[in-house]
Every structure is written in structure tokens, then in C-alpha cells.
Amino acid sequence: MKKIAIALICGLAASAAHAADVKLLNVSYDPTRELYKDINAAFAAQYKQKTGDTVTINMSHNGSGAQSRAIIDGLDADVATLALAYDIDAVADKAKLLPKDWMKRLPQNSSPYTSTIVFLVRKGNPWKVKDWGDLVKPGIHVVTPNPKTSGGARWSYLAAWAWAEKSPGGSADKAKAFVANLYHHVPVLDTGARGATTTFAQRGIGDVLLSWENEAHLALAEAGGADKFQIVYPPSSILAEPSVAVIDKNVDRHKTRAAAEAYLKFLYTKDAQEIEAKNFYRPRDAAVLAAHASQFPNIKLYDIDDVFGGWTKAQQVHFSDGGVFDQIYKPGQ
């Protein structure tokens, strides 16, 4: 009924003004609130200019995994902009709302911007944290969310693992021991990235926060943040590729495909890349990246395909029920 009513209203508006009113729902993960606020305004203005249509983009934010499940369970997303490819794979797999090869439809694995995991420490870096190995010093406390519920936390876990496996003398066994040791220094497992930032920044828990690069910069930008915290870039981390996709079955039903596709393509334009860089996401555009080079230190970023053989495998080995992460919390370890 509601849909018919909306369609009627849209139809009336279209016949009256010869321009359509398009509504898109972008289902995204936790830390992108600020980014998409800016992106949406820019896109709406550009779209209006190009097509004459008014586009309104509604946002839904939550942990990436929770959002993926919500779409599977029927949340009417036109586009999904999630923290990792696996969460969109799950939508393709379980609800068949888009084809399995969705990743090939847009450039660079359908991820218009990248990010990485950095350390946020208390001002002056009292624990002298410089690299991943420092995170298991006796007595140090590390805050990171639960990888089962948070996309960012999965990247953090994989970054730690990649460091331990790829540093000289490293191996998969050593990586497993290191990651287990690391999580025994975690006093609080929040369910999402924002929660973990709050625990670290507002509650004063922990000495190091494993954080999305953009979340760390946001924490510094908050009032007084720069007096309390500083960012430490480890020599290596992981290349996090947050993915975006049009949810085919939903846009076809809403008749919003044109706008939805234009929206995602817009994310790759110079204007949008500039906005992404301003919000501390690493832009794909080389020229924009160069212009913001001081803000994105050039550290070694491991690729999930090279180290872990892709998301599906990483998910199965590390984060599924009884996987490596669950084994960390087996009693007696």
C-alpha cells in the first residue's frame, strides 16, 4: 500500500514538474556517517543539474555484518556500501539479490576508496607503541571490537595476522600465537567500531585502539582530541577495501536503477574522491591521493587476496563458528 502511495505521489510529482523524485536507501557501515553526509549533498546537486531529477538519499548505519544481515532479511537497500566484500557476498549468496560477480561491475574491486588500520594511542605514546609486536607488551591493554560483529575489527585482526606471518621468521603458527596473545590484551570487545572508539576515547579504557584510519583522524578532530590522543602508523598494515554495490532486485522493484548506478559511479569522480580524502578515506584517484599525501603516510599495506586468499577463505578459516578466532577464547589458553 505504502509503495503504491509513494509511486502515485512520485507519478503525480513527475507529471506536474516533468522531473522525478528519486529516493535511494544507502545501507552502510558504522564510521561512514560523516562521509556520506557530504557525498550525498554533492551527488544530489550534481544529479539535479544533469537530469533535473531530485534525488534524496536516506542512510542507514550499523555494524557491517548487521547491515548485511538486515538486507538479507529484507531491508530495502538500493545500494550497499559496506566495510568488506564478504558482507556483500553474503547478500549475493544467501538472498540472491545481486549476482555473485558484483565485484567486477565497478572499477577496483568495486571499492572507490580504501582505508587501513592504524593505532590510536594516548598523547605522548606512553607505551612507546611503534609496531604490531608492541601490542603484546606485558600489561598493555588494546581496544578493538569483536571481529564477529564488526567489519573494522576483522580488518584489524587480519592486519595483525599479516604482520606476524609476513615479518622475518614469521609463519602461520606464529601468527596464530601472536593474534591469540593480542586478544588476551583486549579488556573490552565492543560490537562495533564506533563503540570501541567511545570505550577508548570517552571511557579511558586501554592504551591502544586499533582503529580505522578515518576513525582515528575523527577522534583527533573532536574537541580536545588532539591534546589527548595521537595516531601511530605501524610500518605495515592491511589494505582495507570497503565495497559498494547496487542491490539489483531492490532497485528494479523500486525503479531506481539509473540513480543508484549513477550514485555509485559518482563515488569514483574527482569531486567525490576529494570528499573521501577530506573524510580521511584513501582515494583511488592518483592525483587526489597525491594532493593529500601528507595525510596518508605511505606504509606497506598487505592485500587480503595475497595473504589470506580472499575474503571467503579468510572468513571461513578465521571468523566462522569454531574458527581461529573462536579458538583464542577456548578455556585454558
Binding site: 544481515r69 570487545l189 579504557i205 571468523f319 563458528d321 578455556p331
Partner: protein
């Protein structure tokens, strides 16, 4: 809370409309309660009998169940004592701003649980107003299982107070005065006269606070720390299983929670009936 009073079957009731209202009640209960519960109970059998047991006997699940029910029981016990005192004071005494204090009792009902959780964790964290002095004394509340109890005490209080209040209001002072004239001490009056009258209601209120606490999610996850095998509550474990698309596993844990809660509430109801009959 539904007290289990079975209707006596009589050939003719003085009150008309029994058939219709019973039919409606059954329909309504089925639509609102039974059908969703049936959907929950059907789900775990995808795992098979052995799979079901393996799921719920996993150490992590057992620990979460122990924490959820244990913390809920402790919180309900605390609320039964302090809730009784609060209800007593609110009914028996007159003091300025009594209505304001009375309204405060309802706040945990009205407040979104997430807000309560954030407020409590801010208070009890090691840099919070309450947490900082406690930390100096060597007590940690936030991000430990004690934090879970604190949150559950908060959300459970109104259940005890609000169930007790009407009964306390009706409780006549005559019997207390009679007890006093017969030479009972204040403690004897409380123990032998007041408590027996209040016991069934107190049990109901405590059971409600307990039932509410077992399922509580929003306020707890902010203050619990959520460490597996330490401070991970069962509802969070269910969410984690859903996140893994393990719907059957999540439902299995849900069914166990449901069964334990049901048995517990049934036992409390029986105890309540027994206490009432002894009066």
C-alpha cells in the same frame, strides 16, 4: 505476570460470554506469543538432536547461560530487598517531592536501554564518577560481570516497586498495630505479619525483574566488556551467531533460554501459590 489459575470447569457460568472470550484469548495469545515462539522452537531441529546438544553444551554457550541467569538472579535478589524498601517508603511515608521520587522509579521503564547502558558505563568506567573512587578501592565494575549485575539491577527495579505498591497501599495498619499491642517487636511484626502478606507479590515482582533481566541486551552490552568466557551474555552470543548466519545455532540457544526461563517462572508461580495458601 500470568498466575497459573486454571478456570474451574462449570456447566454454567454466571458471567456470560465465556466461550467467545476464551476463543478470543486463545487466538490472541497464539498470534502474539505462541506462533513466534513456535517458529523459534522449530528452527534448531535443522541441527538434529546431536547437533542441538553440541551447540548448547559448547563451553562458551554454557558460560554465557550461567552469566545471564546468574547475574539476573543476583540482580533480582538485590531488587527484591531494595525494591521492597523503596515501595515501603513511597507508600508509608510523606515527604517533600514524593511524587517526583515516585516518578523516578519508572524511568528505567521509559529510558531506551542503550541510553541506560551508555550512562551506566560512563558512570562506572575507571574514569567515571562512581568508577574512579571504586577503582582506587580496588573494585572494578564496568567491563566485568559485576557491570552486568549493575545494569540488570537498574532495569529491574521498577518491576518490584510497581508490583508491591498497590498491595502495600491496601495493607491495613490494624494488624501491625494489633501485633504491637500484643507485644511483638518491630522485627517480629515485619517478619510474622507484614512479610507473609507481601510474600506472594514480592515473588511476582522479583520474577518479573528476573525475566526482564535474563533477556536484557541493550543496556548490558555497553557495560559488560563482552569477553567470551568472561562477560559475554547469552543475548549477545545469539546476535553473534546470527552474524555468522548460524540461524539454527542462534535459535538453539534461544530455545534453551526460553526453556530455563519458563521452568523458573513456573517454579516461582508454584512457590507463590504455596506461600499464598499458607497464609
Amino acid at each position: 505476570m500470568a498466575t497459573l489459575v486454571l478456570p474451574r470447569v462449570r456447566s454454567r457460568s454466571a458471567l456470560p460470554g465465556f466461550g467467545f472470550s476464551l476463543a478470543f484469548t486463545l487466538f490472541y495469545l497464539s498470534a502474539i506469543v505462541l506462533i513466534p515462539l513456535a517458529a523459534l522452537i522449530i528452527r534448531p531441529w535443522e541441527l538434529g538432536w546431536n547437533g542441538f546438544w553440541a551447540e548448547i553444551l559448547a563451553p562458551r554457550v554454557l558460560h554465557a547461560l550461567k552469566l545471564s541467569f546468574g547475574a539476573a538472579a543476583v540482580a533480582a535478589a538485590i531488587n527484591s530487598v531494595f525494591g521492597l524498601i523503596v515501595a515501603w517508603v513511597l507508600v508509608r511515608y510523606r515527604f517533600p517531592f514524593k511524587r517526583v521520587v515516585d516518578a523516578l522509579v519508572d524511568l528505567p521503564f521509559a529510558l531506551p536501554t542503550a541510553v541506560a547502558g551508555i550512562a551506566l558505563s560512563a558512570l562506572y568506567a575507571s574514569n567515571g564518577w562512581i568508577g574512579a573512587p571504586l577503582e582506587k578501592a580496588g573494585i572494578k565494575i564496568a567491563y566485568t560481570p559485576y557491570g552486568v549485575v549493575v545494569a540488570l539491577v537498574f532495569i529491574g527495579l521498577p518491576f518490584v516497586v510497581r508490583t508491591l505498591q498497590p498491595v502495600l497501599t491496601d495493607l491495613s495498619r490494624d494488624s501491625e498495630e494489633a501485633a504491637a499491642t500484643l507485644g511483638a517487636t518491630r522485627f517480629q511484626t515485619f517478619r510474622r505479619v507484614i512479610l507473609p502478606t507481601l510474600a506472594p507479590t514480592l515473588l511476582t515482582g522479583t520474577a518479573m525483574a528476573f525475566a526482564r533481566a535474563v533477556g536484557e541486551y541493550g543496556s548490558v552490552i555497553f557495560i559488560a566488556g563482552n569477553l567470551p568466557m568472561v562477560s559475554e551474555i547469552t543475548p549477545l552470543l545469539i546476535i553473534i551467531k546470527l552474524q555468522e548466519y548460524d540461524y539454527a545455532g542462534a535459535a538453539a540457544v534461544g530455545v534453551v533460554m526460553l526453556a530455563v526461563s519458563f521452568v523458573f517462572l513456573l517454579a516461582l508461580n508454584a512457590l507463590q501459590a504455596w506461600v499464598s495458601s499458607r497464609r
